[in-house]
Symmetry: C2
Subunit: 137 residues, 2 copies
DNA sequence: CTTAATGCAAAGGCTTTGCAGAGAC
DNA sequence: GTCTCTGCAAAGCCTTTGCATTAAG
């Protein structure tokens, strides 16, 4: 579990004013092992008594990802996942269930990437292993 | 350029009835070096005199990707790209312009991936190198 | 008082769906 | 006539935007 104090501290360090809503969102996101989409998080926050608007959820996630304390993962065409793990690492994506899972970067080697175009800034290298799980077709 | 005859042949081999609309879509997609989204393709098809509905474009792309003659690439949260290149390969994604570009698989080595969960079927390994290009912020 | 954060609802893209009409055999 | 494909429009989902309200210093 992730305490409100930890969350507030994290936000403060990222120069984000730790309002109650932001702290709440941060707690839930950080406390979760699975990755969540904004929509899921929005529902989760609001199921827990607290009332936070959609705009604020999207806003907060956008802010946090701009400040680098969480990371956007684009694996599912239907939504963006937010990943509390900012260490370099990669992902398993279960196409059947829509679940996203971490793969430690230590284990995976990517080599031979061509250089970026002139003047470009690297934004990240993401490896996504997509698979279908047993159940459904 | 990609001829209608080639397109029809490709579709037929994939057991897709080569209707005029599907042939048209296939021609445009295959003839293009850049990757396109369904929406772009829809606009492109309809700018060329021919009238094809949105439903048909989405339908055709879905069919083709299910049959394995094109490939979906998920790199941009806002849309799915369709890639006529079905050889294993990877992608550069220019965050600034939204352009997607191929990276030959030959050059890139990915090693050390952990095994899939029990009973899972690999659906693909995708490496996406995201970068910001010179211009905009 | 001034500035920033929040909430609401509406708008916006991309994609999917339902169903009627057209076409092929 | 039957089966499939097509087209249109409406609906859906996630996300963004605009603007009035509220909170903070």
């Amino acid at each position: 579990m992730y305490s409100e104090l930890q969350a507030a501290e994290l936000l403060r360090r990222a120069e984000i004013v730790p309002t109650p809503q932001r702290v709440e969102i941060t707690c839930l996101l950080m406390g979760q092992r699975a990755h969540m989409s904004a929509e899921e998080l929005y529902r989760l926050v609001n199921s827990g008594g607290r009332r936070v608007s959609k705009a604020t959820v999207y806003n907060t996630l956008g802010l946090m990802s701009k400040k680098g304390i969480i990371r956007e993962v684009i694996a599912d065409p239907a939504r963006v996942f937010y990943d509390p793990n900012t260490q370099p690492h990669h992902h398993f994506f279960d196409v059947t269930t829509g679940k996203l899972q971490d793969i430690d970067a230590d284990m995976v080697q990517v080599s031979g990437l061509p250089p970026l175009p002139e003047g470009a800034t690297l934004d990240g290298v993401e490896v996504i292993v997509r698979y279908k799980s047993a159940k459904a077709e």
